[in-house]
Each structure stands twice: as structure tokens, then as C-alpha cells.
Symmetry: C2
Subunit: 389 residues, 2 copies
């Protein structure tokens, strides 16, 4: 009875793992959850109160599919600072950036359409593409990001979509270099391939200078750039956004309206006020400080305990790093052993549509605090050395 | 470049009309907007403040795709009172009931699948079905609801889905009788057709006793019942829900997760507290009182000004009634004339996938207050009589 697409919709291994371990006393490197102790609860509380006091009727009424006009304008200004030529009408406010990805996928993908992806890539984007019955053309990643020398071959047949996550990629933490960004932008235009650029982690940069969005580097009429306030304000508000050429954004807004009419009027106003009052920048700086220290603690612990045993990435931002076991080893088996000792992480095969990456796994470094990170890596290292021996 | 489904995604005539008239000084019978003066701003303000004070981290964190557990349990209890055998795991919290309809459509419909609809039907549901490339089997409505004697013929070929809006239907305001509900429920099961029952207006009943949901009247493993807090608390919070058999709800939750991960954690808690503290029932009673008076004023004004000239429905609840012009007349032409005099409404052809219903139109009776309703109908009647003469 269900539509054919539902054969490609299934619970993710990550969600199952998180559910399984939610009740237990685990040190978790598994989730994608930020640390809620860092959420600006009191500021949002004050703003929520003021928004309802001053504009309660507007905040509780239906709104435009495109989003709350002041927030669209604010996001446009923010994206101009990132290098995108963004006018307010090029912004669509979405119910988190997951909806931005899903709406873009739904607008572009017919069954069997091919999507060029980084290998590995973001699981929930793959799930959205899966639900639209996409086929995949995986392109390897190295420490400089997507291997653009392999991109012309992938783009040769004119696939529908190129999906990139250039900053602090989930799951690897890798950042794409400026040269690679330029090459990818130009190659997509030449191939007539749409570009979806996922920049959810943009502001969580701990080293170095921001690099321009791929969408800013070539004039692709079929480009969509997605972002979110989930990592910088709070995910529970469900406010994200996308950018694109005006004509495309108009079409995406029509589709967004079908999915949920519009994103919450109240929460959009809360996010706007938080940004407009100047809380976003210092909030980001505080997060950067905390997360940078946690990343450094994780890297230090790995260096102390596992140097020469396994390899890992050294992210300049974001929430994750990626570990590679010796060839032929299965991270799923390691997970079973680690869970017995109270430590969880996500095996890398989850981030591939075809079961590759069995000897890899992802570690989150923002959920646990510094002592827990040290303790967890201590346990993981002991389990790993014992298992490999 | 866009997916084939996008050829069926377009701006609705209603949204265009609302945008066109938003800035002007119109008396509007066009929108589906409740009167924001009736929103419980102060209560929601107090609750929002307390939720963030007491459970700020939870309210701002990611949540389960299925929804906030206490709200699921509360909705289950509410639906049991409506006659549905509802356990908490049969409830999926959605980002408004629009998302419930869209997720159900996405789960059931392959391109070319046939959907049996009331003729006319709810525009935004048709838009969701359109976006999944549905075909339609329209069945007429009369004053008792869907003409179930025409249903066996429509169900003969085993269409995929039957979409019903039995209470105070949008756009007609018609309520389906108990006998018709029973017949529709049984016929759908016999035909092996999935049932989507949209009960967005359930609590806005101004006369008579509630009737059982169609989903409660036969054991259909492919049934989905949708509802919302948009009409009874506030639409700007974007909190709705669906009910179904547990196995189906599990699948729909997987799909919902792909669309936006989950509905807002903060707003779900606000709605839950509003309900759990006992504010929902008195709030509904207050709305019923206001909207009943407005309906009565509209009916009275129509009776005084247009008896014998046009026909209209007499709804027992909801937000709309439906007017039928003499055969051969085009409500679009009437709208152009009425707009020149500052009155807007929605021509009925918008509620049909095939351009029928040109001699009908919809009047909303909850957006404008009583004096405006009288004034607007006075103008409309003058325009109408002049045009028909």
C-alpha cells in the first residue's frame, strides 16, 4: 500500500543507537547533539516574553511561507558577510536546515536521478535523497575536501545534483580548500548540475579564516545554500534557512508551503530578536571557546593513547572527527566491545549509501565535557588496543 | 532541471489573493486566518516563560521525531474522548496538520495514484496530493456530506486513498452524517483503500453533538487521522498531530524525521502545558462563543440581503460557508467587482482540481468581527444584485 519511495525510508542506525543508549550511563561520542548547558536559556526566555508582550498576535498568527520578513533580511545580511550575493527575497526560512535539504531534494530529484556525494557524507541528507529514490555517485574525500580531480568523471553523465558540505564536514570534520571550492563550483556549472551546499557548521570555526561558500564562486542558476540556527542558538527552536537565485527560491517556497505552510511565527521572531540585539556573535564566540577546548582535549587524548594505532582527522571546526582503523577491521565490532565498557560512537558505514567505510568511525566532541572526553577515550583506547592485539 | 512533480506545484489562487489584498483596506472573507485578537497571548506568554525557566535545556534541545512524550500521551487521551482507540505510540506530533497531510500523502502516493476526494475539497491538501502527482476521483457533496451512494463507483478500481474532511468541511462547512461516516469507513476497508481523515475543525462546533471520527468506525490498517492546535491554541506555534495504527505511525515518523527532524521542542512543551493546565477547554468554549455569533451574523446578513438570489450552506461549526450562484455565473467575475468595492472572498473553482465550481465561492466568518461582517455582506449583496440584474 505504501508508495515505492517508502522502500528507501528506514530508521537510521544512528537513531537506533541513540535510542538504545539513551537510558544507559554511557559516555557518548555518538550523537550530533550540542551540549544544552551552553544554550542561551535566559536570553531566549527574556526575548520570548518580550516578543509575546509586544507582538503576541503576530507571533501566534499564520505567516508567509517565505518566512518572517525581518529574519529573512537579517539572514541575507549575514550571508552577504559570508560572501554570498544575498537579497532578502533569496532567503527562505525553513523548519531547521533538514527541511531546507529535504525541500531542495524534493524540488530537484526524480526517481533514479543521480546525486554526486562526498564519500562519506551526512546521513540525514542521504536519507532525504533516498526518500526521493536517488542513485549515488560517491567521490572520495581527502584532507583538502572533495577530491575535485575525480569530479569531472562523476559529472560526465550530467548528474542532477552535487551535494557538498565544505565546512567541517559531517562526519569527517574535513574542510574543503579554497582551490577545491572554486573547481567544484565551476565544474558543476559546466556540467549543468545543481549544487546543494550544506553549511550548517559555518560559525563553529576554531582555527583559521572563513572560506567563501561554493555557491558564491560560480553563477549556477540551480544552486541552494543551506544553514541553520540550530548550532548557534538552539536546535529545539527549529529555525533554519536556505539561499538561492530568486526564481528558484520562489519555487522552493511553494514547495515549503505544501510541507508545513510556514516555519513557526513565534520562534522565527525569537531568533530574529536574538540576532538583532547582538547576542549571536558573542554567543558564537562562547561556543567556539568551549568546543575548541573539547576538540583539543579529544585530539590530545587520541594522541596520547592511540598514536600510531589508528588515524584520525584534525578538524578546524564543527562537531566531529573521523577515525580510520587498520584495513579490514570492522568498527561495528569495536562498537559492540566499547558499549560493554560504556562508550558509544557511530560506525562509519552509516555515512555511506553502499556499506563502505567499515573500518571507520565518527567521534562527536561537543556533547561530553572535557573530563568525560578524557575518560571515554581512555576506555576506548584500552578496548581498541586489546581488540587489535 | 526541476523534478517532474514540480510541474504540479504552483502558487495557489488563494495565497495570491491574500498577498494582493494584504496591504489594502479590504473587508476579507477570503483567508483561513482565525482572529488573532482571540489568541491566548498572556497565558502562552506565562507558560513559555515557565517552560524555559524549568526545562530550558529540554525545550531548546533536539527531540524525538515522534514528538514530546507528554504531548503524545495528552493527544492520545483527547482522541480517545473523540472515540478513537488511541495509545500514545499511535500519535505523531507534526509541524501543523499541513505536515500531517503532506507526510501521509508522501507515504502513500506514487505518481498516477488515484485519490478519492470530496468535490470541492481543501485546497492545501489537494496541493500536497498534486505534489505527489496524484490523479483525482471527485465525489459530490450534499448537505449530509460526501455522497456515499456515489462512493462504490469511485472505489471500484481500488484507488489508493480516500481523503475526507467530515466536520465543517473546508470550503463548504458541511458536516458528514453518522450514517455516511459508517458507510464511508466500511467501503474504504472493502476496497482496500487508505483513508486520510482531516479533522482540523473538530472543536469548533457551534451546534449539536460531536460525531465519531470515520477512522473509528472500521478497522482500516491504512488509516490516518489528522488534527491541529492551530484552530484552538494558535497557528503560529505550528503544532499538529496525526493518529494511525502503530505500525503505520512508525513508518510515518521515519518520513517526518526526514522532513524536519522533529517539531519544535519549545512549542510542543508550550502547547502541552497549555492543555495540561486545563486552559484548552475554556479557550475552546470562548472561541465557540465568538465564532458562533459571527456565523449567526453572517447567516442573518445573507438571509436579509440575498434570500432567493443565491444559495448558501448553514454550517454547524468551522470557519467557512459556501455560496452557490445561479448556474452559468462566474464567481471570479463577481470577485473582481467586489474587490473594486473593497470586499474579497475565494472563488470556488480553487477547491476543485478540474476547474469545476465556477459558480460558487467561500466565505470565512471568523476573521472579521460582527460589524465588518454586516458591512461586507451589505456591499457584496449590492454588487451581486447589480451584477445579476
Amino acid at each position: 500500500m505504501l508508495a515505492r519511495r517508502m522502500s528507501r525510508v528506514a530508521p537510521s542506525a544512528i537513531m537506533e543507537l541513540i535510542k538504545t543508549t539513551a537510558a544507559g550511563d554511557y559516555i557518548s561520542f555518538a550523537s550530533g547533539l550540542p551540549d544544552p548547558a551552553l544554550y542561551p536559556v535566559e536570553r531566549l526566555r527574556q526575548i520570548g516574553d518580550e516578543v509575546l508582550a509586544r507582538d503576541g498576535r503576530g507571533a501566534l498568527q499564520y505567516g508567509a511561507a517565505e518566512g518572517y520578513a525581518p529574519l529573512r533580511a537579517w539572514v541575507a545580511e549575514m550571508l552577504r558577510r559570508r560572501g554570498l550575493p544575498a537579497a532578502p527575497e533569496q532567503i527562505l526560512i525553513t523548519t531547521g536546515s533538514q527541511q531546507a535539504l529535504d525541500v531542495a531534494a524534493r524540488a530537484f530529484l526524480d526517481p533514479g536521478d543521480r546525486v554526486v556525494i562526498e564519500s562519506p557524507s551526512y546521513l540525514a541528507a542521504l536519507q532525504a535523497f533516498d526518500s526521493h529514490e536517488a542513485d549515488y555517485l560517491p567521490v572520495p574525500l581527502d584532507e583538502c575536501g572533495l577530491a575535485t580531480d575525480a569530479l569531472p568523471a562523476a559529472l560526465a553523465g550530467g548528474p542532477k545534483l552535487l551535494y557538498l558540505l565544505p565546512n567541517f564536514q559531517n562526519p569527517t570534520g574535513i574542510t574543503m580548500t579554497a582551490e577545491r571550492r572554486q573547481a567544484a563550483a565551476e565544474l558543476a556549472v559546466q556540467a549543468g548540475t545543481a549544487l546543494v551546499e550544506d553549511d550548517a557548521y559555518h560559525d563553529l570555526r576554531y582555527d583559521g579564516e572563513p572560506l567563501p561558500p561554493v555557491c558564491a564562486l560560480a553563477d549556477n542558476p540551480w544552486s541552494v545554500y543551506t544553514g541553520t540556527f540550530s548550532k548557534t542558538v538552539a536546535p529545539g527552536l527549529r529555525v533554519g534557512y536556505l539561499w538561492g537565485p530568486p526564481a528558484l527560491v520562489e519555487r522552493l517556497a511553494q514547495l515549503k508551503q505544501i510541507t508545513d505552510l510556514h516555519t513557526g511565527s513565534f520562534t522565527q521572531r525569537v531568533v530574529f530578536e536574538y540576532c538583532a540585539r547582538g547576542y549571536l556573535e558573542p554567543g558564537i564566540e562562547a561556543l567556539q571557546g568551549s568546543y575548541r577546548r573539547r576538540r583539543d582535549v579529544l585530539l590530545e587524548a587520541l594522541e596520547q593513547r592511540l598514536a600510531g594505532v589508528v588515524k584520525w582527522t584534525r578538524p578546524h571546526g564543527g562537531m566531529f572527527l573521523f577515525v580510520t582503523l587498520p584495513e579490514g577491521r570492522d568498527a561495528g565490532e569495536l562498537l559492540r566491545r566499547a558499549m560493554e565498557r560504556g562508550v558509544v560512537f557511530v560506525p562509519g558505514a552509516s555515512f555511506h549509501p553502499d556499506g563502505r567505510g567499515r573500518n571507520t568511525f565518527r567521534l562527536n566532541f561537543v556533547s561530553a565535557d572535557e573530563p568525560k572526553i578524557r575518560e571515554g577515550i581512555g576506555i576506548l583506547a584500552a578496548v581498541l588496543r586489546e581488540w587489535l592485539a
